[in-house]
């Protein structure tokens, strides 16, 4: 886990903003900043011109977030019938989706087709067999696996065929009367350099031309996945420097007829959401001052376990007198600890603890453990 960034103090306006929200809506809260969400989409569109973005709904599967991104022209990466159902309820066409789960049950495939999601991802022949009954309706992407040495979350272990298997799968697909229209890859999440993306784009470009030669038919899409990093450590990321090699690789390696698409999840939502929790109680135990918050790792801070994230915290009080503290969540489980051995000024019951960058895999993986209702989501 990376170092915890803690910011002490807040401007009067900030303090009033957070306190007003809690006064109005209670605590805990997850505040979605619509402007920030749209800025992230714009940033990605500027950094990767010509790439179509498919928001990975799983990162923060909330209908207002989907609606805001849909209105701004984003498309959607779906991986389950439940996600497709959310889109249908919002009257968002399945034409704006790709179904990216490499392993699907038949009823998931059928639910996707009913929702109008017709592009599917496979990474092996067994999966191709499952899709054969629907071959006249669907389009297929083949997911190829490239490992990233620096990714925090490695997505290339569980899914993806090895690059040297790709031609054989394409050959078998052709023999069964299906056409694979593109390749996809996921280098893993939160990688701080674009090297793996760049290597994968070059290797996919080579594969695409080999496949096109083999089948005698053009492919039309390369899905470069997501994994674009956000700044949990608050050290500042130079996005222009990060994205330039990806931009250059797409520009130089990919033929004109191949459309590029991406599946950003974390990048869009992480910086757009702020968590507000309140001190519910306190105790001195041994060398530490314990503070018990009304949100924890079974709630919005679940990403600290599932997603290996360490959210930047902000304490509104900038009193320089600080002592070693432990921030714990509200459940009875001893694992429910948000931060250990951090220096905090003295907090009172009801004081607010702000968690920044809390959009990705927070609410998405929160549980109902202890029958706690969890943070309320507010769009501002």
């Amino acid at each position: 886990m990376s170092e915890r960034f803690i910011h002490y103090g807040a401007s009067a306006a900030e303090q009033q903003h957070y306190r007003e929200l809690v006064k109005q809506h209670g605590s805990p809260l997850l505040i979605v900043y619509k402007e920030k969400l749209l800025q992230q989409l714009q940033l990605l569109q500027q950094q990767l011109p010509g790439v179509s973005h498919y928001y990975a709904i799983k990162a923060f599967p909330y209908q207002d977030v989907i609606r805001i991104l849909a209105d701004a022209g984003a498309n959607f990466d779906v991986a389950s019938a439940g996600e497709i159902d959310m889109l249908q309820k919002l009257n968002i066409s399945g034409r704006r989706t790709i179904h990216t789960h490499p392993i699907k049950k038949d009823n998931e495939i059928r639910a996707a087709l009913r929702g109008g999601s017709t592009t599917f991802v496979i990474d092996n022949i067994e999966e191709l067999h499952k899709l054969l009954p629907y071959r006249q309706r669907i389009g297929l992407l083949l997911r190829v696996s490239f490992r990233s040495d620096s990714a925090k979350v490695d997505l290339s272990r569980k899914f993806g065929c090895a690059p040297d298997q790709a031609l054989d799968i394409v050959r078998q697909a052709s023999a069964m009367g299906t056409h694979i229209r593109g390749l996809s890859f996921h280098v893993g999440s939160q990688s701080l350099t674009a090297n793996t993306h760049v290597d994968a784009i070059h290797r996919c470009a080579e594969l695409i031309s080999e496949i096109e030669e083999l089948t005698g038919r053009p492919m039309n899409v390369l899905d470069i996945g997501g994994g674009f990093p956000v700044d949990y450590a608050c050290t500042g990321i130079d996005y222009d420097a990060y994205f330039k090699p990806i931009r250059d690789a797409l520009e130089s390696a990919l033929p004109d007829h191949i459309d590029s698409i991406a599946e950003p999840g974390r990048f869009l939502v992480a910086p757009a959401v702020t968590g507000i929790a309140s001190v519910a109680g306190k105790a001195r135990r041994g060398d530490y001052q314990w503070y018990y918050l009304d949100d924890g790792v079974y709630g919005s801070y679940s990403g600290q376990l599932f997603d290996h994230a360490s959210y930047p915290l902000q304490i509104l009080n900038d009193n320089p007198q600080r002592e070693p503290c432990i921030l714990a969540g509200p459940t009875c489980d001893s694992i429910d600890v948000i931060a250990e051995n951090i220096l905090l000024p003295e907090l009172k019951e009801g004081d607010l603890v702000i968690g920044h960058m809390m959009g990705a895999y927070t609410y998405a993986t929160a549980t109902r453990f202890n029958s706690l209702s969890g943070a309320q989501i507010i769009i501002v």
Binding site: D85, Q88, K89, N91, S93, G94, R95, R110, L113, R114, G115, G116, S117, T118, T119, P133, Y134, R135, Q136, R137, I138, G139, R181
Partner: protein, 285 residues
Amino acid sequence: MKVFTETLYDAFGQTFRIDKVYFENKTEHQHLMIFHNAALGRVMVLDGVVQTTEKDEFVYHEMMAHVPLLAHGKAKQVLIVGGGDGGMLREVLKHRSVEQVTMVEIDSAVIEMAKEYLPNHSQGAFDDARANIVIADGMDFVRDTVQRFDVIISDSTDPIGPGEILFTDDFYAQCKHILNPGGIVVTQNGVAFFQLDEVRTTASRLSHHFSDATFYSAAVPTYYGGIMTFAWGSNDAAIRHVDVQTLQHRFKSSGINTRYYTPEIHQASFALPRYIVDALDETKA
């Protein structure tokens, strides 16, 4: 400008300008949209697929109602499975010989919205004394009913969705069971050129239960892709081969006015293009 693009196929899809949305929502069973298009009038869409438009619905409804009813010649009891828009009910009720039409629709929202926003489809048919409207799963109905029918019309959605049960071997078996001697079942079976696998599947399943299992066709403009097929199942091949004079006589004495159906079209519609004949032969091999 708002547009609707059909979601049936990955590689292509027909697109309509939406001049006005009348209804757009997920019902208990499916996603339903009714909108107006300048060229086609009101258009009803279920799960992203065009079901019917005011402009061309007559082709589908006339061919699916009048072909089996006039081939039969004296149908009194008719079952419609699906058909929530009311267009099929309207056409069947035009036959004075028909004493009762039972229409079994799974999604009451489709009927309610069609009554409100597609009134030209039903033209009051829902209020006809001979119409018996049942809100139920079509499969449950055919399994449980004690009624018997002369003609069964399966006016369903595609085989992926709430209509999928209506394409199963079990459904065809139950249809056979509840048909009177000389009865006919017809089902919508999609656009054969792009859905040939569905033709093969239906042909194979239907032939388990009916000695005369085949298809007839019509081109419905907004079912993109050329001719659509209607599956035909009966246990009396003579019904399909009723001569054109007899059909002309029955049609004339019915007093029904049509815009697509003619007795000559009726006969000719059983002639199938080679690619469909070949697909049917494969299922027999």
